[in-house]
Amino acid sequence: MNTSLYVPGDTPLHRLPAGAKFGVLFAAGIGLFLLAHPAVLGAAAAVAAALVLSARAPLGALRARLLPVGVMLAVLFAATALLQDAGTAVAMLLRLAALILLALAVTLTTRPADLLEFFERLTAPLARVGVANPERISLGVSLVLRFVPEVFRRFQEIREAQAARGLKANPVALLVPLIVRTLKAADDVADAIDARCYPPPRRPSGGARTEENAT
């Protein structure tokens, strides 16, 4: 089951620099929350969907990524329609769908390595004034990229295992093993990161050495 975020390819979106894609995503995120007209939001969602399709990811891969999000959106839509009104629910649905599809288009077409470099460059000014450590930030981002699909996969495994034993879907019964397993995996991954000599030595321009802070 392929649930990882990036799909290799050579489409225009793939060739666009990571910084440009994130810039657009960021601007679109703000724009979408300022706009409220359903037609405009619908158009935005359609454009976002077209961008996703332009990445030429296999349909199976798209379905695996969109199914959990779709379920969540459907629940949100129903709740909003019930608690507020249909108009608000439609606007919310289109807005979130547009945003999620845009984010998907970016992550589908951006190599994790490029994403990391972009974040490193973005945080370099902060590093220079000593506020952040770019290596840590980039590792953090890549770990998120790594764990998100795995959490999805584990969620499905646990649900299937519970269904096989005749258990009804129960959020607590799902979440507890999910959290435990994810923490255990995170613990092991932290060891693996240590074992491979993280963090890298500071470059000559950098500040203090962070020799043993990974242990």
């Binding site: 990882s4 092991d188 991954v189 491979r196 043993e212």
Partner: protein, 249 residues
């Protein structure tokens, strides 16, 4: 594989022509005790490890993984010291880990980055290798295990055997002098188990291999049996396995 130095025997895929054929580092444990949450797991260990192929066997929960983790400072002793070529794992952990690589049982948790080549590059970046040298080293290491074609693949979508080879390559690319393995074949089918066995047998660095696969260690120079908080037997593989079968089954 008993030769103290020189190229590894056989032309198995793990061979690394570029590896400096340095002798195995000497790993010493002096009065080492360690436990978790106040419960002692290993106590009063004194060991000197310098052979090129060392096996570690023992029952579930006997402390094999804990012993393995002591060797590169992933676990530091509560009492006593662990020295790798004289360097204390407590104060010089990073340096020790650059010489003593570690391959975990579950490659899923060992592989950090989503794309194989990136994961391989991670260790090299941590060693401070110049950026332009990294792709060459990565390609060379993958080729040496016959998995060059996996470079751009998603690490988490590989088969179990491929993942374990990638995990091994990602450690070997750092050119460690010793590699510690914690049950490297437990999750593998027979064919992949044999691939890993051959790769371990053929690789240039020394190896300490924790395993329940008694046949794996049959050609090793030395086998330790971990039992009841200590090393209950230490000797040739045949005798160690016989002792283990007699006392622990």
């Amino acid at each position: 594989m008993t030769a103290p130095a020189g190229p590894a025997p056989g032309a198995a895929p793990g061979e690394r022509p570029s590896a400096a054929e340095a002798p195995a580092p000497v790993i010493e444990l002096h009065g080492v005790s360690v436990g978790y949450d106040g419960r002692t797991v290993l106590s009063g260990l004194d060991l000197r490890l310098a052979e090129r192929r060392i096996g570690v066997i023992g029952q579930n929960g006997s402390g094999k993984s804990t012993l393995a983790r002591l060797l590169n400072g992933l676990v530091v002793p509560d009492e006593g010291r662990v020295l790798v070529d004289g360097r204390d794992t407590r104060t010089d952990g990073r340096r020790v880990r650059s010489e003593v690589g570690f391959v975990f049982q579950n490659p899923d948790n060992q592989i950090v980055f989503p794309i194989v080549a990136e994961d391989m590059a991670f260790g090299l970046k941590n060693l401070g290798l110049p950026k332009k040298e990294i792709p060459g080293r990565v390609a060379e290491a993958l080729e040496s295990f016959g998995i060059g074609h996996l470079a751009e693949r998603h690490s988490h979508l590989l088969s179990g055997g491929e993942k374990q080879l990638v995990a091994l390559a990602s450690v070997m690319v750092m050119r460690p002098r010793t590699v510690v393995f914690d049950e490297p074949t437990t999750l593998l089918d027979l064919r992949n188990r044999n691939r890993i066995r051959d790769a371990v047998d053929a690789m240039a660095p020394a190896a300490v291999v924790v395993t329940h696969d008694l046949e794996l260690v049959s050609g090793y120079d030395r086998v330790l049996v971990v039992h009841e908080g200590g090393i209950a037997f230490d000797g040739a593989p045949g005798e160690a396995v016989a002792w283990y079968r007699e006392h622990c089954s």
